[in-house]
């Protein structure tokens, strides 16, 4: 079972890595095909057209590369009265991008098509004091992750497995996978928590609790049940446990179920942010269901990093808030994310939080670490 799960996961990852082509690769291939249709090397003009979700920046870049490749293949490029016009459209299908080249010369018209799995588009770097460091990306959901051993080892929690990775040459190399013996089918909107404990780690998913160790090999022992765990490593008094088959927590510190809790505030299922006594924040719906407290020297009070309010299936945001007198005040610019937040937990390292989003474009789950830097 473990091997099957690993194979699946690896297979997905492998497929994802093999099919993707860089713009250079795609351009070179297309240029070669175009050039092969023009053995006499007439003068050529290139027109580019975007019918995809590619950003204008990326499109422009691709166009320059393609033009250069065409020139290198011996085609004289000109914008003035060319003998042949090459119109390239970056189109898109459900499976990915499609390059469509029309070669128009006199009465002739040749069409060349080339599928292109592009790598993820670059995100707009935030300009705020929230710092984001991508850690890992995979097609399967990432519920949480923990960095160990001076960030040389990585444990990634998925709904049905824990994967371990080793850092090598700046990349995380998959090391092992351990399946979680789930007592219940994974909850829809799967959530989970992995925490580093002395001698290993613990995994908490709704209906199942696991203990694991990494060395000498990744091992996991799971048992049905919902054990309590500290919501934040640095907030030991706030313990909670999962509700089986659900995506909510329950705690003696709060009346009712909640999605997240930190520094005495809880995001309840009725979408209010309430304290233990049930009092709501004065600011109605300042943020979404997920938040985590993050320590920073930039502010005296604890800061909460929270997901954006409302339904944002295409994209989400995270923003830092300061809570004082039952009022949440944003203390940073919102950081726009490329997809909805799937998980937002305080990290095992102080001053960091683990953020997992699902990229709306690629569908991959992208795990990052967030930190705060003071604005200049």
């Amino acid at each position: 079972m473990t091997r099957v799960a690993f194979a699946l996961l690896f297979g997905w990852v492998t497929v994802a890595i093999v099919q993707a082509q860089s713009p250079q690769e795609a351009a070179a291939q297309l240029a070669a095909r175009i050039s092969s249709q023009l053995p006499r090397h007439p003068t050529v003009s290139l027109e580019l057209r975007n019918l995809s979700s590619m950003t204008p920046v990326d499109l422009s870049s691709f166009g320059r590369i393609l033009e250069e490749d065409l020139r290198k293949s011996g085609l004289p490029m000109t914008a003035m009265q060319p003998e042949t016009r090459v119109r390239v459209a970056v189109s898109e299908t459900a499976r990915g991008l499609l390059l469509v080249a029309e070669i128009l010369g006199g009465e002739n018209r040749t069409v060349i098509m080339q599928p292109w799995i592009a790598p993820p588009a670059s995100e707009t770097k935030p300009r705020i004091r929230i710092l984001r460091t991508p850690i890992w990306s995979q097609p399967e959901p990432v519920l949480d992750l923990v960095l160990l051993d001076s960030d040389s080892e990585l444990l990634v929690l998925s709904p049905a497995a824990v994967s371990s990775f080793r850092m090598a040459e700046g990349k995380w190399i998959p090391a092992d996978v351990a399946a979680i013996s789930l007592a219940r089918p994974p909850a829809r909107d799967p959530r989970g928590r992995i925490e580093n404990v002395p001698g290993g780690f613990r995994v908490y998913v709704p209906g199942t609790t696991c203990s694991g160790s990494l060395h000498p090999a990744l091992r996991l022992a799971c048992a049905p049940g919902n054990e309590a765990w500290a919501v934040s490593p640095r907030e030991a008094n706030l313990v909670a446990r999962w509700v089986t088959d659900r995506n909510v927590l329950e705690s003696p510190s709060f009346q009712g179920a909640f999605y997240s809790g930190a520094i005495g505030w809880f995001s309840a299922v009725d979408r209010r942010i309430s304290d233990r006594a049930g009092n709501s924040l004065a600011t109605p719906e300042p943020w979404g269901s997920d938040f985590a407290n993050i320590e920073t020297s930039c502010a005296p009070d604890p800061i909460l990093l929270a997901s954006g309010p409302g339904d944002n299936p295409g994209g989400d945001q995270t923003q830092a808030f300061e809570i004082a007198s039952a009022r949440a005040t944003p203390v940073s610019e919102p950081m726009t994310l490329g997809g909805p937040i799937v998980a937002l937990w305080p990290a095992e390292t102080a001053g960091q939080a683990t953020l997992v989003i699902r990229n709306s474009q690629t569908g991959n789950y992208e795990a990052s670490r967030l930190g705060l830097a003071c604005a200049e």
Binding site: A94, A187, R188, N247, P309, P340, V342
Partner: protein, 439 residues
């Protein structure tokens, strides 16, 4: 909402998870759905397979990229001759009545479904493995097994459809109402909703989710309603009974699709110049033309124009509007077209639902519908040019004139969440298991 929509009530794999927003989904509540087409509720849940996707699942499913993904079957192998297939069933899957899913319990429904298409199919059950055997090669068996008609289900005296899907049938009034309840032990995770009530609705649009068919008065919706439109999932086109190339070419030049899209579909549709929509083929833009009434007039100046009847489906006000507009465009070019609901017209306005995101598979199916299945043999899914050439050849005959692509359009009450995200997974299925509501 057509029958195909009911094929859209499908499951999603827990492996891929639910697409959620900034607010976490909430478990519980009842989602009310009003549909304008009673035929969907008239079918027995298991009779046509249209309703089975939420209730019963197939061995495999077509993912958002058209790639076949595991569902009840987690692995499969095929013999080189494509006559023998072996499927490994997913473990720990139960039917709604608690009966475990294994090869023995799955085989009867699978065999019955396969027999409808393949008379020589045999299914052998062994533990968690199913062997499907044919006397002839069946290379596209996976595509067939992804269709809701091949869902695995059982039946007993009280329940006509006992499936493995995220929802189970609790009440069914044929043609009027279907009530589903969450299946707590669903292997992909219990759905967020406690229950779903699907009923034949009126134009008042009071339900949480209601379809907005084109041409209905439902495009005026209550305040706060969100409108969700799927990607283009239906092709509206003109089919000519007798190929009269010059006349049809003139007609094609006379038709201005922009007003049809902008007004009749309220900009929700998309002008169609090719058979497959742009999002599916990626090359549909190559077929784009602009209306040229002057050229159309030139083409027909020497022709003795016959009387042309354009047949459109009765009781379809959208089709009627399109037919009237086509007649008006044709009139500008000097061609007289009379819209009618009587069969046997020279032209027929057809509405073809698209069933798969796989361009090659879909084009093959449409070529077969058009009686041009011989052209399907040249299609190579890995070479989009072959699809383009096949479409080009078909369009050059002018026997089919694509007009517009239509999406499925739904109105969503404010309390409905994650609808949009849930539907991104599969453009041809409604994934209600990932939808949740305020309570």
């Amino acid at each position: 909402m057509r029958r195909r929509a009911w094929a859209w009530l499908a499951l999603s794999s827990a492996c891929l998870g639910a697409l959620i927003g900034a607010i976490r989904p909430r478990y519980g509540g009842t989602l009310t759905v009003e549909l304008s087409n009673a035929s969907l509720l008239r079918d027995s849940p298991g009779a046509s397979g249209h309703l089975s996707a939420a209730i019963a699942e197939t061995l495999v499913r077509a993912g958002p990229r058209g790639i076949i993904e595991p569902q009840l079957a987690v692995a499969w192998q095929r013999e080189p001759d494509n006559k023998r297939w072996r499927f490994s069933l997913r473990p720990k899957v139960t039917f709604h009545d608690g009966e475990p899913l294994n090869a023995v319990s799955a085989a009867p429904a699978l065999l019955a479904a396969l027999k409808k298409h393949y008379g020589d199919a045999t299914v052998t059950a062994g533990g968690q493995a199913l062997i499907v055997q044919f006397d002839h090669p069946v290379p596209d068996l996976l595509a067939e097994l992804a269709r809701p008609e091949t869902a695995v289900f059982r039946r007993n005296e009280t329940n006509p459809m006992i499936g493995t899907g995220p929802f189970r049938v609790t009440a069914w009034e044929p043609g009027r109402r279907l009530t589903l309840a969450a299946f707590e032990d669903y292997w992909g995770g219990r759905p967020f909703l406690d229950s779903i009530v699907l009923s034949l609705g009126s134009a008042t649009a009071r339900a949480d989710v209601f379809d907005i068919p084109f041409g209905s008065a439902r495009h005026v919706v209550p305040e706060g309603t969100r409108i969700w439109a799927s990607p283009a999932s239906e092709l509206v086109a003109l089919l000519a009974a007798n190929p009269q190339s010059t006349l049809l070419q003139a007609l094609s030049l006379a038709i201005d699709r922009a007003p049809i899209v902008n007004v009749l579909t309220q900009r929700r549709g998309e002008a169609a110049f090719g058979i497959l929509p742009q999002w599916m083929s990626g090359y549909a833009f190559l077929f784009q033309t602009v209306p040229d009434v002057a050229r159309a007039k030139q083409l027909i100046v020497q022709l003795r124009l016959p009387s042309i009847n354009l047949t459109y489906p009765a009781n379809d006000s959208f089709a009627r509007s399109v037919a009237d507009r086509i007649a008006l465009n044709a009139r500008d070019a000097g061609i007289t077209i009379q819209p009618t609901t009587s069969a046997g017209g020279n032209l027929t306005l057809v509405r073809w639902p698209l069933e798969s995101a796989d361009a090659a598979m879909e084009l093959t199916r449409l070529l077969t519908l058009l009686g041009a299945s011989e052209r399907a043999g040249s299609l190579d899914p890995t070479k989009p040019e072959t699809l383009y050439e096949a479409e080009r050849a078909l369009l050059d005959d002018h026997r089919v004139i694509p007009l517009v692509y239509l999406p499925e359009v739904y109105g969503l009450a404010p309390r409905v969440h994650n609808w949009e995200g849930a539907q991104k997974r599969d453009p041809f299925r409604l994934n209600l298991e990932n939808v949740w509501v305020d309570q």
